[in-house]
C-alpha cells in the first residue's frame, strides 16, 4: 500500500512536470501577454520594460525552471491580468468548479447506473431502446449547442431557471457554497445537467454493456443453479461485478468533467476555474494557465489514485496487491 502510494506520488510529480513543460512550450505561441498589459499606444521601451519585469525575456528553460521551483513552494506567480497571486485566484474559483463537477458526477451516477441496469435487464423493451437512442442523441450534439438550447428553453421561454451564474452563495471559511441557498441550487440545475449529459450516457451504456457481460458469467449461471432470487442475482452478484469497470471509467471521466467544465462554465458564466482558464487563454495569462494545468493534473492523479484505492474496497482480489489495479482497462 505504502509502495503503491509512493509510486503514485512519483508518477504524479512526473506528470505535473511534463504538463508544466508542455504548457510552457505552448505558451510561447499563444500570443504576447505584454500587449494586454500595456496600453495600446505604449512605446516599444515601455513594452520592453514590462517584458523584463515579467521575466519574459529569459530563455524558456529558465522560465520553466523558475516556475517549477516556485510551484514547488506553492507559489504560482501573479496573474498578469488580475495582478493577484494565481493561487488565490484558483482557490477562489475552486469551490464553484468543484460543486459543479460534483453535482454533475453524482447526477451521472444516480441516473446512469439505474438506467444502465434497466436497459440491461430489459434489453428488448421499447423503453430501453428508446433510452438507448435518446442517450446517443444526447451525445451527438456538441455540448455548447446543448447548453444554449437549454438556456433558450428553460430560461428564456419557460423562465424557470436562471441562465447564468451560481445564484446566491454562502461563505464557509474560504469555501463558497451554492448548496445552501434556493437560488444556488436552482442555478446548479442547467449547468450540471449539461455537464453530466455526456458522462450520464457513457455510464449508462457502460453499465449496460458490463451488466450484459456479467450476466453471462459462469458464476451468475451457478448462482441461478443455486436457486437464488433474481433480485439477489441482479443487484448483489451482477451489479457489484459490474461496478469495477464502471469505477475506472468514472474516475477517468471525472477528469473529463473538469475539462468539459471549461465549456459549461463559459456558456453559463459559472465563476469556476474553467472560465478562469479560458480568460487566461484569451489574455495569454501564462501563470494562470500553467497553474491551472498543473493543478488539474494534480487533481487527476488524486482522483485516479482514489479510484485505484476504491478498487480494493470492491474487489477483494486486489486487497493483497493493489498494484494490480493499475492494469485497468480504458
Amino acid at each position: 500500500m505504502f509502495v503503491f502510494l509512493v509510486r503514485r506520488l512519483l508518477q504524479a510529480v512526473m506528470v505535473m512536470l511534463a504538463v508544466a513543460f508542455i504548457a510552457f512550450l505552448m505558451f510561447r505561441y499563444l500570443g504576447d501577454p505584454v500587449n494586454n498589459i500595456v496600453s495600446q499606444d505604449a512605446t516599444q521601451q515601455q513594452r520592453e520594460e514590462v517584458r523584463q519585469r515579467l521575466g519574459l525575456d529569459d530563455p524558456m528553460a529558465i522560465q520553466y525552471g523558475r516556475f517549477v521551483i516556485n510551484a514547488a513552494k506553492g507559489d504560482f506567480g501573479v496573474s498578469y491580468r488580475n495582478s493577484r497571486p494565481v493561487s488565490a485566484l484558483l482557490a477562489e474559483r475552486l469551490p464553484a468548479t468543484a460543486e459543479l463537477v460534483l453535482v454533475a458526477a453524482l447526477l451521472s451516477l444516480v441516473l446512469g447506473i439505474p438506467l444502465g441496469i434497466y436497459t440491461a435487464l430489459k434489453p428488448r423493451g421499447v423503453l430501453s431502446q428508446g433510452l438507448q437512442i435518446m442517450s446517443l442523441i444526447g451525445i451527438s450534439l456538441p455540448t455548447f449547442v446543448t447548453g444554449i438550447l437549454l438556456i433558450l428553453v428553460f430560461s428564456v421561454w419557460l423562465g424557470w431557471l436562471p441562465s447564468f451564474g451560481r445564484g446566491d452563495v454562502i461563505d464557509i471559511g474560504w469555501w463558497s457554497t451554492g448548496f445552501l441557498t434556493a437560488s444556488g441550487l436552482k442555478a446548479l440545475i442547467l449547468p450540471s445537467f449539461m455537464l453530466c449529459l455526456f458522462q450520464l450516457t457513457l455510464i449508462m451504456r457502460l453499465v449496460r454493456a458490463e451488466m450484459l457481460e456479467v450476466l453471462r458469467a459462469d458464476y451468475i449461471k451457478f448462482a441461478k443453479a443455486r436457486g437464488l432470487k433474481n433480485r439477489a442475482i441482479h443487484f448483489r452478484h451482477a451489479l457489484k461485478n459490474t461496478l469495477i469497470p464502471v469505477v475506472t471509467i468514472f474516475g477517468l471521466q471525472l477528469g473529463g468533467l473538469i475539462a468539459f467544465a471549461i465549456i459549461t462554465e463559459t456558456v453559463f458564466q459559472w465563476p469556476g476555474m474553467g472560465a478562469l482558464f479560458i480568460q487566461a487563454v484569451n489574455f495569454t495569462d501564462v501563470p494562470v494557465m500553467a497553474a491551472y494545468l498543473v493543478m488539474v493534473s494534480l487533481i487527476f492523479v488524486i482522483i485516479n489514485t482514489s479510484v485505484d484505492l476504491l478498487y480494493n474496497v470492491i474487489d477483494p482480489r486486489l486487497r493483497t496487491d493493489p498494484t494490480r489495479a493499475s492494469g485497468k482497462g480504458a
Binding site: F2, V3, V6, R7, T323
Partner: protein, 359 residues
C-alpha cells in the same frame, strides 16, 4: 551431473541431447517494491537441471502433473525461450542459445505440434498458406506451383483432401485441424518432432486417429519424437522411453514397458494409481493425496517429500540425483537407492488422511 540415463541400444549418437537444462523465471516484485519493502528476488525453477537423450527414430515421452515444466522443456528445445543454463545438442550441434528458427538448416529439421488445434492455426489464414509458411520461410520450393503441389501432397498424406487447402481453419473439426498442424510440421521434412499434448484437447475417438497417424508417420518417415502428455495411457501407446517429471526435475526415466511393470519412484507409482481402470468399474480407488506444490517455494531436499509416504530425514535434507539401475531404469529417490522402496508402496496411507486435510 550424472551421465545420461538412457543406455543406447545402437552405437549411434542420440539425435537430441539435453544436459543440465535449466529455466528459471524471475518472479520478483517491481524494483520500487523491493526497494521500499525489502524482500529478495524470487524465481520459479520451471526446469531445474534436466538430462535427456533421445535416440534417433524413437519416442521419449514426458509425463507429469500440470506445471511440472513439460511445456517449458518443449519450448526450450524449440528455441521459443532461452535456457538459464545447460545445453541442448541437436545431432551434435549446440542450439541452446539459438533463437527459434535459427540456424535454419538445423531448425528446419525439428518441428513442433501444439496442444490446442483451435489455437495453433491462424484463423485468418487459408489452410494452404498455413502449411506453406514453413516452405516459404525456409525457401524449400522453387516455384509457387511446386509449393502448391507440395501442400496438396501433405494434405493428402495426413488424410485430408487437397481441395481443403482453400478453406479456413474454422471450417474443420478439431481432429482435422490437428492433421493440418501435423502437415505443417512435417512440411520441412523434419527428423525430430516435439509434440506438446497433441491430443489432450481432442475426443477419444479422434485422439485414436491422431495417435495412429503419428505412429505411422514415425514408421514411414523415421521420425524421432519428444512426446508430452499427462495421460499415462496415451504415453504408453506412443513411447519407447518415458520420463516422469516433478517440479522441474526428472524423477524417473525408464523404458516404457519397464515403467509400467515396475515403477520405481513413489511419484511414478502415485501417477500410475490415478489411471482409472476401465475394466474394474465402480471401484473405490484411493485418490492421490495433496495438490501440486507451489513451484515458487519448493520444499528443500526432495521436492516430492511432503507427499511421499517413504520420506525420512535424509529426504528433507538432501536432494536426490538421478541414478541408473538395471533394465535402463533410472530414478532419483533416496528410498529407491536405499532399497526401501522395494515393498509395494502404500501411498494410500497418507492419502486417506490428507483427503480431508488437503491444503
Amino acid at each position: 551431473m550424472n551421465a545420461a540415463p538412457i543406455k543406447l541400444k545402437s552405437r549411434e549418437a542420440p539425435l537430441l541431447q539435453v544436459k543440465g537444462l535449466k529455466k528459471h523465471f524471475a518472479m520478483s516484485k517491481p524494483f520500487l517494491n523491493r526497494l521500499l519493502e525489502g524482500g529478495e528476488q524470487q524465481t520459479v525453477k520451471a526446469v531445474d537441471g534436466l538430462d535427456l537423450d533421445i535416440p534417433r527414430g524413437q519416442t521419449l515421452s514426458l509425463v507429469g502433473e500440470s506445471g511440472c515444466g513439460k511445456s517449458t522443456v518443449a519450448r526450450l528445445i524449440m528455441g521459443l525461450s532461452s535456457p538459464s543454463g545447460g545445453s541442448i545438442l541437436f545431432d551434435g550441434a549446440d542450439i541452446s542459445r539459438a533463437p527459434a528458427g535459427q540456424p535454419a538448416d538445423i531448425r528446419r529439421r525439428m518441428q513442433m505440434i501444439f496442444q490446442d488445434p483451435y489455437a495453433s492455426l491462424n484463423p485468418r489464414w487459408r489452410v494452404a498458406d498455413i502449411i506453406a509458411e514453413p516452405l516459404r520461410t525456409y525457401g524449400m520450393c522453387a516455384s509457387r506451383q511446386e509449393q502448391r503441389r507440395e501442400v496438396d501432397r501433405l494434405l493428402e498424406f495426413v488424410g485430408l483432401n487437397a481441395k481443403d487447402g482453400d478453406k479456413f481453419p474454422h471450417e474443420f473439426s478439431g481432429g482435422q485441424r490437428q492433421r493440418i498442424s501435423i502437415a505443417r510440421a512435417i512440411s520441412t521434412k523434419p527428423e525430430f518432432l516435439v509434440c506438446d499434448e497433441p491430443t489432450s484437447a481432442l475426443d477419444v475417438s479422434v485422439q485414436a486417429q491422431i495417435l495412429n497417424l503419428m505412429r505411422e508417420m514415425q514408421r514411414e518417415l523415421g521420425l524421432t519424437y519428444l512426446f508430452i502428455s499427462h495421460d499415462l495411457a496415451v504415453v504408453n501407446f506412443m513411447s519407447d522411453w518415458i520420463g516422469v517429471m516433478y517440479l522441474g526435475r526428472l524423477v524417473e526415466v525408464s523404458p516404457a514397458a519397464e515403467l509400467f511393470a515396475n515403477p520405481q519412484h513413489p511419484y511414478t507409482r502415485l501417477l500410475l494409481d490415478t489411471i482409472p481402470d476401465l475394466e474394474m468399474s465402480k471401484r473405490d480407488r484411493q485418490p492421490a493425496a495433496g495438490e501440486v506444490p507451489n513451484p515458487i517455494n519448493p520444499p528443500p531436499g526432495c521436492h516430492f517429500r511432503p507427499r511421499c509416504a517413504l520420506a525420512n530425514e535424509r529426504c528433507r535434507r538432501e536432494a536426490p540425483v538421478l541414478r541408473v539401475y538395471d533394465g535402463g531404469v533410472s530414478a532419483s529417490c533416496h528410498a529407491v537407492e536405499e532399497g526401501r522402496a522395494n515393498e509395494p508402496i502404500t501411498v494410500q496411507a497418507s492419502a486417506a488422511q490428507s483427503l480431508r486435510a488437503a491444503v
